[in-house]
Point group: C3
Chain length 349, copies 3
């Protein structure tokens, strides 16, 4: 796909400003400020990259407001993030759409209901009682267990496994090699051995949830493990049985959420965060990367560390920990001075 | 499945007590105290939930001893954990059993020996020399490499990969997308490049081991990586080459066990724990979540932290770390007071 | 495979020394010093195991220099690591080579170019525009997306998923259940919901890179996520979008590398290390296991901890943290002594 700067501006609903001569240049891609070439359009979402923009080879720039002294066409938009997504879609690599229908090398049980426009790849196995909504794409090598339901416009990439009795809403994406509905880690020690506690519950994944590659979402012992609408999950994340996650949360890679945790809406967990069993985290709270959370956290907090505490306090404690050699030295010197004072006192007595 | 309270009591071998009128109520599921409805049976495994029980909608409760003043039928059993497992099995969703025999879309090499009752799913590839014991179920998309052996009553869920020369005992479960017998991470730096150290060894997984989804168990360089009987492993766990794990251990999600570690029997590793190379952990030792273990730990210990130390000591150190701002303040004030004393002394001299 | 000690010595180009009578013993495997039997050859790469060698049952030993007083044949070589690799290859289990050609149960799109000697397993799906170089082996259940390229002598084990527009060089290994080219974790919050930032970029994996099992390498938003030649990656590793890794790095299991990080050549990241977004790490730097890196690190450093700092400093701080109970006690006693001095002063005044 190639567009002139002027054509792209029209497509993005952008006002054109800056270098008028450049508006006929051909654009074929979007690039970051430093790495753009002369057929790229770039963008500015913060002040940090403004200086670099003057040296950028980019043919044009998407900005929120007019930049003075820049000899490049400027595409002025209200929301650069939204315009960037649109521009990236314009120049996205053209891929063949998934073939509608059932691949001959898929194995579909008798009672399965596939809506119109569904695509089922080679090697897929779909068990009895499964329903799949309109225009959903089930990648090659996937397995969908008995009585599970997948909504409309979903995309399960290759080799995703969904166990029985799971429910995925509409517009859900699950990337390759992820596992939904595996049995959780619940055992009772009886007569000298661990016996599995049966997991009669399921998994509910609401609309617009996106799950990365190689993730695990365990089914519930009772009721359901629930992931709220609009929540996005990175790669290699572990979500244990009976966890309930609210809407529009962000769960970064390699996070581990233990059994029966409850997250409010808009919670953000940084990479490699771990939550102990039964922890409750309030709406909008953000937990920094690598934190370990053993206790509930109220809404609207910024927490960090292991054990996780208020972020500012955590930074203060980290700072003081780094100063421990100095503190030890101060303590030693103080000890000497007190010894001196005591000796002087003894001399006088 | 529906049973009356009285029928369920009989099934569980429970003594009936409490509200006699309620014993004809229909039960269709097991639920937790707070979330049970009037067709659920609930249970009490600790005192914590007793108060909530009076408000619970549950039709009946499984308990270890009679509870006074509760207007619900009580199913009194010796071991609530065991009765709970039985009740969950009674009300488990009815799934179709795996189809016996080899799916036409599986590819079985000539020398493979499959015992009676084995089920092999679509898309499975089994290489030469493999043996699979009675009633084992190999899910769709699995791969079992040359000369590997799977015992009786095993279950490999979809897309599990078992490399060559691995041995799984009886009653082993491996959940979806896990990898057994991958080559370990061992390289020598020779002539300017890393060269792989060949891994001639294998993996031995003993009876009743259960492995979660998306786990990795690397094969050994020499001999075998060994997972002892009855050990249970959660999701996304990494077990490196030549690790030896004892019997009845619990390894929680996202744990990483480095090469040649040796765990005794009954060891418990909390979520996201990491063990350095060659670490030895004694029988019955528990290591708290997110700990980092660089040195051997004796038997029967409770360790925590990174570096992991005795748990009580770790809590003490965490407490003191949290008090660092106060200590810094004390140190500052003490310094002032010593200055004052020194000044007074100087005045006198 | 069986060789006499003398034959093995010849094969390794080793000088024979020590017990001359033993050179006709039959060797069938390589083993570690402690666990070798009388048909094993063992090896010494450091002084640590020399003492144990005298008690070892091994039929012979590979060493860098003659060992006195050892009644075993010694195979003296220049580079024990290289000889060990060669010996392990000699005694490696003999596996059937992958069947050349396309398995009938694979699905290859029309425009795919497969070079000579390529092996494509059952259930593989290869999309349009893909090219695969000579002698590469694509394991069962793999998926290779549109326009991706795999070089010569590569090995993709079962159920690996490579998305579209990825480029793998020559001699690349990807172990089972890994995912290459998944969409990265980049969202903009627009009008009350997270919207995915399209990832128009790809992944470039250079020659001789080896990637473990169940890893994720995300594709780039712009340009490419790049893994440099000769870099080796363990299991369950997360590599986010737009990361650039240099040559000959070692990335140990469960490491997480966040978006746009840049690693130089020869960087080593220990197990479970996490890197924040945009971190740059210089050539040859080693970061200890479980560290959390939030800031750039120069070349040639040894860093440890979370936050990661110079390793010696980190050890010092860990040591002082462990001494916090003692410091608190000292502070308390000092306070008492100062109180005593103040009281004495007050008495005099």
């Amino acid at each position: 796909m190639r567009l002139t700067v002027a054509q792209l501006a029209k497509r993005l609903g952008a006002e054109l400003a800056g270098d008028a001569d450049g508006i006929d240049r051909q654009i074929s891609a979007v690039g970051p400020v430093e790495a753009s070439g002369d057929s790229d359009v770039t963008f500015i979402t913060d002040d940090k990259h403004k200086a670099a923009l003057h040296k950028s080879q980019a043919a044009a720039v998407i900005v929120a407001g007019h930049l003075d002294g820049l000899n490049k066409p400027q595409l002025i938009v209200k929301n650069v993030d939204a315009a960037l997504i649109e521009a990236l879609n314009v120049f996205a690599p053209r891929l063949k759409p998934a073939t509608e229908g059932i691949d001959p090398a898929a194995k579909i049980a008798q009672g399965v209901k596939l809506a119109e426009g569904v695509s089922v790849g080679a090697g897929v196995v779909i068990d009895d009682g499964v329903e799949i909504g309109e225009n959903s794409v089930i990648g090659s090598g996937c397995k969908i267990g008995e009585n599970s339901r997948v909504g409309e416009n979903c995309r399960l990439d290759s080799n995703v496994v969904v166990y029985h009795n799971c429910r995925l809403g509409n517009n859900v994406v699950v990337q390759a090699n992820s596992t939904i509905g595996s049995t959780g880690f619940g055992y009772s020690f009886i007569d000298g051995a661990y016996r599995l506690i049966p997991h009669n519950g399921g998994v509910v994944i609401e609309d617009f949830v996106e799950i990365g590659a190689n993730c695990c979402v365990d089914r519930a012992k009772f009721g359901n493990t629930i992931i709220g609408a609009g929540t996005k999950i990175d790669n290699l994340v572990q979500i244990a049985h009976n966890v309930v996650i609210g809407k529009c949360c962000l769960i970064v890679a390699q996070v581990g959420i233990s059994g029966s945790c409850r997250l409010g809406d808009g919670v953000v967990l940084g990479g490699q965060v771990g939550l102990a069993d039964n922890v409750e985290i309030g709406d909008g709270t953000m937990v920094g990367a690598k934190s370990g959370v053993a206790y509930d956290i109220a809404a609207g907090q910024r927490f960090l560390g292991s054990p996780a505490i208020d972020k500012r306090e955590a930074f203060r404690i980290i700072g003081l920990t780094m100063r421990l050699p100095k503190m030890a030295e101060q303590l030693k010197r103080l000890n000497k001075r007190v010894e001196g004072l005591e000796a002087a006192k003894d001399d006088k007595e």
